[in-house]
């Protein structure tokens, strides 16, 4: 301890370090400059509104669809992308951003179907393609969904790949997400996404929550009906917000109690890439159709009458048996609760919104009430409650905590 000169030495080196580590911004996401500027092949994920618009895997090899796509391609796409899909159509040569070459097996393998569908639908009207000078027209107003699937299936044939264009055929399409997963998620969720990393057993030993097994298809935090897979937006929300928890000894003084970190500082496109990799661990995400969500209507005004009705519903629906009369998670059934793995699970303390796993805004609580939490004793009330009744219950639940607790729960 006598060497105080370490301090100035460290500070001087620190200053040098700041200078050294702050050079000009570099290229993002490993894209090759040539690919971005000249070919237009950019590894950007499809935005959330397109993320669940997946082609049925059978379409890729459906000869009738491919034939239909060939006709559409010849009429609309070949002029730029070329008759043979090489990106050398007569109208494409003068364009600032060159049309994609569908014969490039490597580039095609990296394109997810939702990305492809997004590009076909929006063309060059969206970023980052718009600012790069893409002249591709949006086809969503001209071609039906099935027509767009058909033309994409035909374009896919140029690459020479015979099978369906899915992650288990082309791991390249989720490669970036896999790299992020290996850095950030593997120690809890395990190398194969089965929730069996080394951290889980000491994080919450022999009790819930355990790290999610992505391969099993049971997801708690969803906007979809009970038992169904979540939407991409649901997974994105969980990655962004992390997960709070209650149960077991806590870190004294913390108010949020996250046991899964918030990855909100990860750039949005990388969070989307990560979610796409997580989806690739369960083929159900690629084979499902018509992703339905439970609608969350606009919240009505909070009134004393509504809270009073909610209190009655809370009693009638026997929410108190788990959550307790005062909402503290100490109902008579609370000590007996188990999750799908037969681990003891705590009933949520409704007086602490900052610890609600599924969010603490009125919309979040509404979503939890109507979808339930799959794999836990919390059922879905979608069929049992009318939307207006659900709002009554939501406002009663939120009334169990103080204004400051509600505010801090929402702020987190």
């Amino acid at each position: 301890m006598k060497h105080w000169w370490y301090v100035p030495l460290a500070l001087v080196t620190l200053a040098v370090g700041v200078w050294v580590t702050n050079p000009p911004a570099l290229r993002a996401n490993g894209e090759d400059k040539h690919e971005i500027e000249e070919v237009g092949h950019a590894h950007v994920p499809a935005p959330l509104e397109y993320a669940d618009l997946l082609m049925p895997p059978s379409v890729w090899t459906d000869q009738a669809m491919i034939a239909r796509g060939k006709e559409i391609y010849a009429a609309n796409c070949a002029v730029c992308h070329g008759e043979h899909g090489d990106g050398k159509g007569p109208a494409g040569q003068a364009l600032p951003l060159k049309p994609s070459d569908f014969r490039d097996r490597h580039a095609v393998a990296e394109m997810r179907d939702n990305y492809w569908f997004w590009r076909a639908s929006e063309g060059g009207t969206v970023e980052p393609f718009k600012s790069r000078g893409s002249a591709m027209p949006p086809w969503k107003g001209t071609l039906s969904v099935e027509d767009r699937w058909a033309v994409i299936a035909y374009q896919h044939t140029f690459s020479g790949h015979q099978g369906p264009h899915v992650p288990w055929e082309h791991p390249e399409m989720v490669q970036m997400g896999r790299d992020i997963y290996r850095m950030a998620c593997v120690s809890c969720h395990g190398l194969d996404g089965q929730g069996d990393g080394s951290v889980g057993p000491t994080l919450s030993p022999n009790r819930a929550p355990q790290p999610r097994d992505f391969t099993a298809g049971l997801f708690k935090l969803r906007s979809t009906p009970t038992g169904e897979l979540p939407t991409t937006a649901d997974l994105f929300r969980t990655v962004t917000e992390g997960i709070r928890s209650r149960g077991g000894p806590l870190t004294l003084g913390l108010s949020g109690y996250r046991i899964m970190p918030s990855f909100r500082h990860m750039p949005e496109e990388q969070r989307l890439e990560l979610v796409e990799y997580v989806k690739s661990l369960n083929q159900g995400f690629w084979t499902r159709q018509d992703v339905k969500t439970v609608p969350v209507p606009a919240p009505p005004p909070e009134t004393p009458e509504r809270i009073a009705r909610g209190r009655q519903l809370y009693a009638d629906a026997e929410c108190w048996t788990c959550h307790g009369r005062s909402g503290r998670g100490d109902g008579p059934s609370a000590p007996t609760l188990k999750d799908q793995n037969d681990f003891p699970i705590t009933a949520t303390d409704l007086t602490e919104p900052s610890r609600f796993k599924n969010g603490a805004t009125p919309q979040d609580v509404y979503r939890t009430v109507v979808t339930g939490l799959t794999g836990t004793p919390m059922p879905s009330y979608e069929d049992a409650l009318e939307p207006d009744q659900a709002w009554d219950l939501v406002y009663y639940v939120l009334s169990l905590s103080s204004e400051s607790h509600r505010a801090s729960g929402v702020a987190r």
Binding site: D179, A184, C188, G190, T202, H265
Partner: protein, 476 residues
């Protein structure tokens, strides 16, 4: 009677501590900065789990999710006062009651906690962070005026360094780079990638990336006993990383002896140095590897070292890692004078250190150990056969999370000592510990270390049979 009174007083003190901590509102710095439970990064503090090791390796950042604006954005988000508060943490660690049994008597006494530490730490930028420990030691053993004395010390703690990711620098000289979670990574998706190299400079202990790291459950050393200017009893520490040789000196002018249990090079109380480490993916094998090279001051000499670690598993609730270390110490100690072993000669010795370590985790079990061998060179010719030039240390530890709040630990330390043959003795110590976590950041522990060899009178390594320590570890 006296002993019973002391035990009673210890329990009352612990009870008062229990009552007091319930009103404490402060928390460790990183937990507050990221709003995370301690268990996210620690199996139980202070032992890091795989995620915590990754967090540390990446410069105290959530992997792939560094705050883009760093400190400035934090101040904007949370305000200056909260940001400063979140940057600080306090730790009190060590014994409150100790009992030592020797061949002659049993000594029981209250001891103040060994260390009070203030941590000041946070990321400043996505690729730059700092970590500083300020420490108060009520019972520090220091050497002055030719004798060992015990006194209170305040100053810089074990570590005080900054960590910078040099990936961008490699990018500037032509390496392919990517932005991953606002940090720079070298390589390409699907191929070779490298996080880092991370530069860690200042007062450092580079062992965090080793399979046997500094942060472990049985971390508190037993007290170094000093009487009449001499060390009467050495502390029990992981023998694998001790200096291992009897008869060496730290410096020539003051003639300060290098205690055989002083931890040097790895698992140290920290030393000035520069460390580069990087995590590599998809290099020859499909398992993450950490490579590390660096330079570290030791006494009046310095070390050059390299370490390599491979991680396996993260399946079936298990993980496994192996590490190898090689180090050359240039002039790191003074050899004894061949004619008077109590004085340093005019020869500084070099030391070759090499060894392996491994760690296996499975559910609540955590087993880790290291076998480290040392060999010294450039001894005065006059020492001849009076000095054993090689020494080896073995440390094996096992932690078991028996209950959410109870951690059982045991450690075996074996020293095959080197050095002056008329002084050297081997040592074997078996330690047990029960740690009760009242909260995740507040624990009480009871520890017992047993000298499993015969006692040797007037020998600081062996003149004891049993040491009991009741202690506390509070992190705010």
């Amino acid at each position: 009677m006296l002993r019973r009174s002391l035990v009673l007083l210890a329990l009352v003190t612990a009870g008062i501590g229990f009552a007091y901590v319930q009103s404490v509102e402060a928390v460790p710095a990183f937990a507050r900065q990221y709003d995370l439970q301690c268990n996210v990064c620690h199996t139980r503090p202070p032992r890091l789990n795989s995620f915590g090791e990754q967090f540390h390796m990446m410069g105290f950042q959530i992997p792939s999710a560094a705050r883009p604006g760093g400190l400035g954005e934090s101040i904007k988000d949370k305000g200056l006062a909260q940001t400063i508060l979140d940057t600080l943490a306090f730790r009190m660690e060590g014994g409150i009651f100790e009992s030592t049994k020797s061949p002659h008597d049993t000594e029981s006494k209250f001891v103040p906690p060994e260390e009070f530490t203030l941590f000041v730490t946070r990321p400043l930028l996505p690729d730059l962070s700092f970590f500083v420990e300020l420490e108060a030691e009520p019972n520090a053993v220091v050497f002055e005026d030719g004798r060992f004395v015990t006194r209170a010390e305040v100053g810089l703690g074990k570590e005080a360094f900054f960590m910078a990711n040099l990936g961008q620098v490699l990018g500037l000289i032509g390496a392919p780079t990517m932005q991953m979670g606002n940090q720079t990574m070298v390589g390409r998706h699907g191929g070779f990638t490298m996080h880092g190299p991370m530069l860690m400079a200042g007062k450092i202990d580079p062992s965090t990336n080793f399979s046997y790291p500094t942060n472990r459950q049985l971390i508190a050393a037993t007290e170094t006993e000093v009487k009449a200017g001499e060390v009467e009893r050495f502390p029990v520490v992981p023998y694998a990383f001790t200096s291992k040789f009897f008869g060496l000196f730290k410096d020539r002018d003051e003639g300060e002896p290098q205690l055989v249990t002083d931890q040097v090079m790895y698992n140290t109380p920290g030393a000035p140095g520069v460390d580069f480490h990087a995590m590599l993916h998809n290099l020859v094998i499909d398992h993450p590897q950490i490579v590390q090279v660096g330079f570290l001051r030791e006494n009046e000499g310095w070390n050059a070292y390299a370490a390599w670690r491979v991680d396996f598993g993260e399946r079936d609730q298990s993980a496994f890692s192996v590490s190898a270390l090689i180090n050359w110490g240039f002039g790191v100690a003074w050899a004894p004078d061949p004619t008077d072993h109590d004085r340093p000669s005019d020869r500084r010795i070099d030391r070759l250190r090499y060894g392996v370590a491994a760690n296996a985790r499975w559910k609540g079990l955590d087993v880790y150990g290291a076998l480290i061998r040392d060999q010294v060179f450039d001894l005065p010719s006059g020492l001849g056969g009076e000095f054993d030039r090689t020494a080896t240390g073995l440390t094996l530890a096992l932690d078991f999370l028996a209950h959410e709040q109870v951690m059982l630990s045991t450690r075996f330390d074996q020293l095959w000592a080197g050095g002056l043959t008329d002084q050297k003795e081997d040592g074997s110590v078996l330690s047990f510990q029960v740690k009760y976590f009242l909260w995740q950041n507040i624990a009480f522990f009871a520890r017992d270390s047993v000298n499993v060899r015969s006692t040797v009178e007037h020998h600081p390594l062996r003149e004891w049979r049993n040491q009991v320590l009741l202690g506390i570890d509070w992190d705010f």
